[in-house]
């Protein structure tokens, strides 16, 4: 469990990091942020990058900020930065609720939001949040940047559209309506485990009916995604118990569940159904989250 040899870079400026990345990209050069996914893989020699570009010294990449109705989550924003609401309104508590479900306390002190997107684990809570909330990934390379909708960015398990010489400098999340409600539920066997199913839902309530429904499912398929059929079935109707039941059953029928030695497909469908139902119930019962 010792990593294979690699060259270590620790630039202090973003430009410098992009420079190095452009040079080493061809030799499996990689960014290291929190190291909470990369280091275990290197210890098992499943990843053997020849170069590591450590971005932890780059002050301009730290933390989060709100700019014109957008929450900017920079590359070094840690999971723990969301323990307290990062902004007022429903999005802060939403992200705080989600963050509590990621790994364990020490891991949350190091692991990053942007690193989670770059890593694209099917069970990443942040990937589900970014996709469901309509986030945008800012991919930067030496001399340029592009914006990629989170839903297009994540291609499959541990696969994204990021080029080897690009890094995620930030992820942007639109700040929702102040009256928005949300619910999140994930199932796992022990606190902190990667979840085999989770669901995040947001909507606003107008005259007893729900509108602007966003409903995402993560952990259960190769990538997290919004289920637009379920959203449509819920939109512009009162959120009754019967609607919740219908929506959870519809969600379960729409997914193509992952399968592994411990979690057969029909069971995965069952816990998706449960997660969607409980996320909707949480949203139903709360103004600002759970």
């Amino acid at each position: 469990m010792k990593a294979a040899p690699f060259t270590y870079h620790r630039p202090g400026k973003l430009e410098e990091a992009l420079d190095i990345l452009s040079r080493v990209a061809g030799q499996d050069g990689r960014i290291i942020a929190g190291g909470q996914s990369l280091v275990p893989m290197m210890a098992l020699r499943l990843a053997q990058p020849a170069h590591l570009v450590d971005i932890n010294e780059i002050a301009s990449l730290r933390g989060t900020g709100v700019e014109r109705q957008t929450l900017v989550i920079r590359a070094l924003a840690r999971h723990a930065d969301f323990h307290q609401p990062a902004l007022t309104g429903p999005l802060g508590p939403l992200l705080a609720t989600v963050a509590q479900n990621i790994a364990h306390y020490p891991i949350r002190q190091r692991g990053t939001f942007c690193g989670s997107l770059a890593h694209a684990d099917p069970a990443s809570e942040w990937c589900l949040a970014a996709v469901t909330l309509g986030g945008t990934v800012i991919a930067r390379r030496r001399g340029g940047a592009r914006e990629i909708p989170a839903g297009e960015f994540i291609q499959g398990p541990l696969t994204t559209t990021l080029e080897p010489d690009e890094m995620i400098s930030a992820v942007h999340l639109p700040v929702p309506d102040q009256t928005g409600r949300f619910g999140f539920y994930e199932f796992n066997r022990r606190a902190g485990d990667f979840a085999p199913a989770m669901s995040l839902v947001t909507f606003t309530v107008q005259d007893e009916t729900v509108t602007q429904v966003r409903l995402g499912v993560g952990g259960a398929e190769e990538t997290p995604r919004r289920l637009s059929q379920v959203e449509e079935a819920l939109n512009n109707k009162p959120l009754t118990d019967a609607q919740i039941r219908m929506a959870s059953e519809l969600a379960a029928s729409l997914i193509t569940p992952l399968e592994d030695a411990l979690i057969p497909q029909d069971y995965r469908r069952q816990i998706v159904k449960t997660a969607v139902r409980r996320a909707l119930e949480a949203a139903q019962g709360s103004r600002h989250g759970q």
Partner: protein, 802 residues
């Protein structure tokens, strides 16, 4: 200062704490001798394969690499290529001792093939990646049930079958019992236990002194004396030229009981290279190469009369033995003994088949097969209760061994041939106390009320009796040094269970009660040449007895000498701390230092007390053949989330009796740890292998241990039935917590799921398995581990074997 009489039986703080809390305790990886080289092993990627060749050329080129060895390179230094580590038994039909390194055939994933020695572990692993092993995969034996079928391949190429051993338990008139029974209940069980997963894995450091010619091996083992025997024999050394030391050990829990290939290889390399060599096992290697307990399949039936009185139990047990005999038949043997211990069962027959598979060998994990025996018995009794519409506790009440039967001779023999005699305890009273604390009688109402709110709660009960204190002896030396401190040396081995504190309390109980004077040297073959070590919940009983006897002998010497010097009768003397004084005259005193100096003698003068001999020292090896039996009753209360199959343990309580407690806090620590392990076995721990016997759970992300959020607050209660079989009245406690736990939890889950009428005959129970049992969706085939277990004895009979 603690007065004499209160140190024994008190929850004093541990001798071990200071070193552990200040980071001064030295574990294997902390031992860093000058010039130490690192070892990394090249391991089999296949469950079963031929080795056509091993190419080490590229590996040898890696900077920092000192040597790469295969068996061929080491063979000139070894007297044999196989390691005799198992206990003898005439039930063996096949002789499959582990190899030091595999040379022409590998029989499990992770079996060591070659070793790389380098300046650092990094370089060693870089080079190990470059060793090319030319393997030709062979047919794999991945399932111990299929392994017994006539057409199964052999787990070893040269073997025509896989039945490594067969034996039975048999007493009473079993046929009659079943013929005369009013009710017969027949069940099949599939029980799985994973590994032990001590925080510290295995590891060893070897250092050869060219001047004295002595080889020292520090190794993370539960049995330094056992390791020394294997090393001496394989290296052809005499006993004086090898020293094996178990330093601070970060947990053992069973698997560190056997000597492993890596220990032998590290020892040989240290000698060959004349430089210290260290190997520290990482967790991945632990999963691959440290022994496990794994699979048992049981087909059993119980015969009872209409009053639920047990007439007999019979059946068969199929036990996954793994690829080699690393310890012997003790796990299935202990399963078979554990089943009938707590109850009056007039007739018993169990056929036991130990079966080779292409998996890492099976040896005991905390509990050593006993939790499985308990599980089977307890589940059968729950079925009897259901069948006769009786309360589950009532069925047990009628059949438990009663107090007035003690000492109760069972018609069973221990593996060494001695009889099983339950020494003491009041099993029915233990159960009653547990039921009372649990509110057993009122639970039905709570369950009904919960159900009306759509919540599924359940309660389960399990009793156990554990054989502890395996003999024959453990040597203990007690010495008061001329500097006044007390040294205790023993072959007993501490692996985190506070053995030092326990022995110090027993010794201090005789010698003044000041624990700060006592130091305990465990697990060093030079300090104590004869010894067995830590396993089988034995050391408090066996080493405790010798410590008690040796301390008393030293106390006698102290009094004899002090009585002459202080001119007082021995009966008028007392010891407090390091002072020996005349009762009520604290100024007429001598210190331990003064007495020990006097007892050492002066050149040309007579010894002060000729009949005591020189010094204040005694060595005792109290021989103990009969085991002593701890018992207990556990009650679990759970809630099942029927939408996910998730189980929450709301309450877990145990009433526990391990005789007289030397230190109640340590007893509670042991019981709590055992329960945690038992919860793991009930709900989490699953060592998975695929059809090619490739392990699929090789990190703690896949192999789930119980985590803090899944541990209920434990409710521990004690009874103290002093054992009449040893002077201290003690019984062992290291394993007992895990014995009743899976049975109680699974019973509680079954109770919670009464509305679904499920039968739970397996452990562990994962949420997916449970949900599958609650809602088997038509048309969807359940994965293998859901399917109902069962030994197809008829099919095996068609084979040549049975």
């Amino acid at each position: 200062m603690t007065p004499n009489n209160s140190v024994l039986g008190a929850s004093v703080s541990r001798l071990e704490d200071h070193g552990l809390l200040t980071g001064q305790s030295r574990f294997i990886d902390d031992l860093q001798l000058p010039g130490t080289l690192s070892a990394a092993f090249v391991r089999s990627p296949y469950g079963h394969a031929l080795i056509n060749g091993v190419n080490t050329e590229a590996a040898c080129q890696v900077p920092g690499v000192v040597a790469v060895y295969t068996l061929t390179d080491l063979q000139p230094w070894l007297t044999d290529t196989r390691m005799a580590t198992g206990l003898p038994s005439n039930s063996f039909r096949l002789d499959v001792n582990p190899r030091v390194l595999a040379a022409d055939e590998v029989v499990y994933v992770g079996e060591p093939i070659a070793v790389v020695i380098a300046a650092s572990r990094y370089a060693a692993e870089d080079a190990a990646d470059l060793v090319e092993v030319d393997c030709e995969p062979l047919e794999v034996v991945a399932d111990c049930r299929a392994a017994l079928l006539a057409d199964s391949p052999g787990a070893h190429r040269k073997l025509s079958h896989n039945l490594v051993a067969a034996f039975d338990f048999d007493y009473g008139h079993v046929e009659d019992a079943f013929r005369q029974a009013d009710v017969i209940i027949n069940e099949s069980f599939r029980l799985h236990r994973g590994g032990a997963h001590s925080i510290e894995g295995r590891g060893a450091v070897a250092s050869h002194d060219p001047v004295t010619g002595k080889l020292t091996l520090w190794t993370s083992t539960q049995r330094p004396h056992g390791v020394k025997r294997v090393i001496c024999d394989l290296l052809g050394c005499n006993d004086d030229s090898v020293r094996v030391v178990a330093p601070q050990i970060g947990g053992g829990f069973g698997p560190k009981l056997v000597c492993y290939p890596e220990e032998v290889v590290v020892a040989v390399c240290g000698k060959l290279l004349q430089q210290p060599v260290k190997w520290t096992q990482d967790r991945y290697e632990y999963f691959l190469s440290t022994t496990q307990e794994r699979d048992q399949y049981w087909d059993v039936e119980i015969a009872v009369d209409n009053d639920a009185m047990i007439k007999g139990v019979r059946g068969a047990l199929l036990h996954d033995h793994g690829a080699y005999t690393a310890r012997g038949l003790n796990v299935p043997y202990a399963s078979g003994v554990a089943l009938p211990l707590a109850y009056n069962i007039p007739a018993y027959h169990l056929d036991v088949y130990a079966v080779l598979t292409n998996k890492v060998p099976v040896t005991p994990v905390r509990g050593a097969g006993q939790p499985q025996g308990v599980f089977v018995m307890e589940r059968l009794l729950d079925r009897v209760a259901a069948g006769l519409s009786l309360d589950r506790a009532e069925v047990r009440r009628r059949n438990l061994v009663r107090k007035e039967q003690m000492p109760c001779r069972k018609s069973l023999k221990l593996r060494g041939g001695t009889e099983v005699i339950l020494d003491s305890g009041d099993y029915p009273a233990t159960q009653e106390l547990a039921l009372e604390h649990a509110g057993w009688a009122a639970f039905g109402e709570r369950q009904q009320a919960a159900l009306e709110q759509g919540r599924h709660i359940g309660i389960g009960l399990a009793n156990f009796v554990e054989g502890t204190g395996r003999g024959p002896y453990e040597t203990v030396t007690v010495r008061i040094n001329p500097s006044g401190n007390i040294l205790v040396a023993t072959g007993a081995t501490a692996m985190g269970q506070s053995t030092q504190t326990m022995l110090a309390q027993i010794v201090a109980g005789q010698l003044g009660g000041d624990l700060s004077l006592v130091s305990v040297n465990c697990g060093d073959t030079d300090a104590t040449p004869l010894g067995f070590g830590g396993f089988n919940s034995r050391q408090t009983v066996v080493a405790g007895a010798s410590a008690h006897a040796a301390a008393r002998a030293v106390r006698d010497k102290v009094f004899r000498l002090a009585s002459r010097r202080l001119e007082a009768a021995e009966r008028d003397l007392e010891i407090n701390g390091h002072n020996v004084f005349v009762k009520d005259m604290p100024d007429r005193k001598l210190t331990f230092a003064q007495l020990a100096r006097a007892a050492s003698g002066l050149p040309g003068f007579k010894l002060p007390v000729a009949e005591s001999g020189p010094g204040l020292e005694a060595t005792e090896s109290v021989v103990i053949d009969d085991m002593v039996y701890s018992n207990g009753s556990a009650v679990a209360e759970v809630e099942v989330d029927i939408d996910t199959g998730q189980v929450d343990i709301h309450r877990f309580l145990i009433v526990h009796d391990c005789g007289r407690m030397i230190n109640p806090a340590l007893v509670e620590g042991q019981v709590a740890g055992g329960i945690a392990h038992g919860i793991g076995n009930a709900l989490f721990e699953w060592m998975g292998f695929d059809d090619n016997a490739q392990p699929v759970t090789t990190t703690f992300a896949d192999y789930l241990l119980v985590s803090a959020d899944k541990m209920p607050a434990l409710e521990l209660f004690h009874r103290e039935s002093a054992s009449p079989f040893n002077e201290l009245g003690v019984k062992g406690v290291g394993e007992s917590g895990c014995l009743p736990t899976p049975a109680a939890i699974v019973a509680a889950i079954e109770d919670a799921l009464k509305p679904f009428d499920v039968k739970l005959n397996q452990a562990p129970l994962t949420p997916a398995v449970l949900w599958g049992l609650i809602r088997p969706a038509p048309g969807i085939s359940a994965p293998e581990h859901w399917r109902s277990p069962g030994i197809d004895t008829a099919a095996y009979r068609k084979g040549v074997l049975l």
